[in-house]
């Protein structure tokens, strides 16, 4: 029995080159070429899209209502059917997928972007924390990830050299990804917040991603080998860090169960693990076998444009199916400190 009312596939994926700075571009100027590219891949025109959903955060660049500016790049006037999440684009994709499931749209354009270069992203991200007990202390994103890494090391689940190897593998794999920000051999560097070194942390940069979703036969017309979303779910941990077991990710595991990850083996995983230590947690939660290719794109350790890096995991997973390189992929996106929120999707190609 089919899990959902309608078959929905990712039929196209595009992303920008991810760069440390893009001072010469406003957000809409950064986003627009990627929108054109993803639409061109399907042959659809902007006006033919049933639903448009974007993900971004005004705090990154410090510009209020920046997402309304970037909508200019879609051709949103006269008004289109459109929505926005102040989250990673993976959650915008979830909303678009729901919209298609309801039958109100047959196609959707999903895009997201982050321009972190104007500000200090480590400080900016403190503003998403509990405003009463945590945010007044300004614990930055690296510090919180380091608390999680220490908990994993104390629990005997990893050590500093194993973490360094995750970073090295990610950037070596990113050598084949022309969009990645860090490619090839990168020094492991000094402690940023001990036990995490520079090499355990994601690069800070600006970037954009976009995908097109389509339902059923339309997906088959638009794409030779659609990447069917056969399962998708997202869950959240209790919000106080002190209530959580930081070495585990029950929310990822529950989302994976609901998405059907464990019903058949996966050959590839695109995991949104901005810090090397978080890959350890996610591999365990998803029960990945040793022969699963993890982050062949290089993952978030090679390019982590905020608000886009999660959508990129789904896009990269889909692109491997489009190219015939993978058959059953688990894609994961996260948001918040220490893997606070997790989205898990299974993408599959048609069996020959």
């Amino acid at each position: 029995m089919a899990r959902y009312a309608r078959e929905v596939a990712v039929v196209a994926f595009a992303q920008s080159d991810h760069l440390r700075r893009t001072d010469e571009l406003s957000e809409v100027e950064m986003v627009m070429p990627v929108l054109h590219q993803v639409l061109a891949a399907t042959g659809l025109k902007a006006g033919e899209i049933g639903f448009t959903c974007s993900g971004s955060s005004d705090y990154l660049a410090g510009r209020a209502f920046s997402f309304t500016m970037t909508l200019d790049g879609v051709g949103a006037w006269p008004p289109i059917s459109e929505s926005h999440v102040e989250m990673d684009g993976a959650w915008a994709l979830y909303e678009a997928w729901v919209k298609i499931q309801t039958g109100e749209a047959d196609t959707a354009l999903v895009y997201s972007y982050g321009k972190s270069s104007p500000g200090s992203v480590r400080d900016v991200l403190t503003r998403q924390l509990d405003p009463y007990y945590v945010a007044p202390l300004w614990p930055d994103s690296v510090a919180l990830a380091a608390l999680q890494a220490r908990a994993l090391i104390d629990a005997g689940e990893t050590d500093e050299s194993a973490l360094a190897a995750i970073g090295a593998r990610s950037r070596a794999d990113a050598g084949a990804n022309p969009h990645a920000q860090l490619r090839g051999s990168v020094p492991q560097g000094d402690y940023q917040v001990r036990p995490l070194r520079t090499g355990d942390c994601p690069p800070v940069g600006d970037g954009v991603a976009a995908v097109v979703l389509a339902a059923g036969d339309l997906a088959r017309q638009l794409c030779e080998r659609p990447a069917w979303i056969t399962g998708i779910d997202h869950r959240i941990e209790a919000h106080s860090l002190g209530l959580r077991d930081l070495t585990d990710s029950p929310s990822t595991r529950i989302a994976a169960e609901h998405a059907g990850v464990f019903e058949a083996p996966v050959d590839t995983a695109e995991l949104h693990a901005p810090f090397s230590s978080q890959e350890v947690v996610l591999r365990k939660a998803l029960g990945l076998a040793d022969d699963v290719a993890v982050n062949p794109s290089g993952g978030a350790l090679a390019a982590n444009p905020m608000m886009a890096a999660g959508l990129i995991r789904i896009g990269e997973a889909a692109a491997r199916i489009h190219r015939g390189e993978s058959h059953r992929v688990v894609a994961h996106a996260t948001s918040g400190p220490c893997l606070q929120q997790n989205l898990v999707a299974v993408l599959e190609g048609d069996r020959a």
Binding site: D23, E24, L25, S26, E27, V28, E29, M32, L35, H36, A46, Y59, A61, G62, R63, M69, L71, D72, G73, V74, G75, A76, W77, P78, P118, G119, S120, R122, D123, V124, R127, P131, Y132, Y133, V134, A135, P136, L137, W138, P139, D140, A143, L144, A146, L147, Q148, A149, R150, A151, D154, Y191, V193, R194, A238, H239, S240, L241, G242, L243, L246
Partner: protein, 319 residues
């Protein structure tokens, strides 16, 4: 009309400050009032777990929890991370450890910082105690930090009524974020032209509408506006309002007129103040031109040109 060439990149500091005023519920009020009085409170869930810091709803059952208890100001580090380079708004300005601390009597951990001489002096399982801030206001920062502690452990949590004189009922959460803003290609060209007292828009290559100020894209066509077009300097008032409330930090006498002005050649109106004419004589169709002041980065206001008013049909699409 010339094709856009890459302009020199403009940059300017941008400071965003937002002091959020937040009210506290009964549990958070008791906890933060307690910190002011050097007392650490938690809540007890229906299955007997003590949560510090306290929450108002059980994260597992979603039950409302109001059963306050007092725990010790001593505890055990459950995980830590050494921060060699404190960032400007963090609690200590010397190197310190971030810690999660399970206070004696509690079953969950509190995030804070630990003042210690170096990473070799910190380990999971070490004993610590609260160092209270000298001045306390009812905030998480009433705990200045934790410090190493070798004395006896505190006992089990004890019931507490949560009543404090002059309980705090709210906090003001100060926030300041510093950015360096760059306006991008289209707006850079616009700002650079303004410094020559010219107003430059961009034409959509598809529908030919001229956007002033340009944002880089045509929202109707979804394509980049690339062709640069000088507009104005004169224009037509398409609509206006009379402002009777004096804005803070604005040195303009009320009443004054704020108008939408379609500069000649522009495909939409921009807005500006109208001067040089009594406020009650401003009208739709009035022809105006910019007035620049010495050193001004944009027109100070617009004044009548003295030309006859524009026909309604000439600007009705731009209202």
């Amino acid at each position: 009309m010339t094709a856009a060439s890459p302009p020199e990149i403009l940059r300017a500091p941008l400071i965003v400050e937002f002091p959020f005023t937040r009210s506290l519920g009964p549990v958070q009020s008791a906890f933060l009032s307690g910190l002011r009085e050097r007392t650490v409170l938690g809540v007890k869930t229906s299955d007997g777990r003590v949560m510090v810091p306290p929450v108002e709803y059980d994260p597992v059952t979603a039950e409302e929890i109001r059963d306050l208890v007092e725990v010790a100001a001593t505890g055990t580090v459950t995980t830590w991370a050494w921060n060699d380079r404190p960032r400007s708004q963090q609690p200590l300005d010397t190197p310190f450890a971030w810690v999660l601390v399970k206070l004696d009597g509690a079953d969950t951990a509190l995030l804070h910082v630990l003042d210690a001489p170096g990473p070799d002096a910190v380990r999971t399982g070490m004993r610590v105690r609260v160092r209270w801030a000298a001045e306390r206001t009812g905030a998480i920062t009433d705990i200045a930090c934790f410090e190493p502690y070798e004395g006896p452990a505190g006992g089990a949590a004890l019931p507490h009524d949560g009543d404090f004189a002059d309980a705090v009922t709210g906090i003001v959460a100060e926030a300041r974020l510093d950015y360096v803003y760059s306006p991008g290609r289209a707006q850079t060209a616009y700002i650079n032209a303004l410094s020559d007292r010219r107003t430059v828009g961009e034409r959509c290559p598809s529908c030919h509408k001229v956007y002033v100020p340009p944002r880089g894209a045509c929202p109707t066509c979804g394509v980049a506006t690339t062709d640069r077009v000088e507009v104005g300097p004169a224009g037509t008032v398409t609509t206006y309002c009379i402002v009777n409330i004096k804005a803070r930090n604005l040195d303009i006498e009320v009443p004054y007129v704020y108008a939408h002005i379609a500069l000649d050649g522009a495909g939409l109106a921009l807005h500006g103040r109208i001067g040089g004419i009594p406020y009650d004589q401003v009208r739709m169709g009035l022809r105006v031109e910019p007035v620049w002041t010495e050193g001004g980065r944009y027109p100070d206001h617009y004044r009548p040109t003295g030309e006859p008013d524009a026909d309604y049909d000439a600007y009705k699409e731009l209202i």
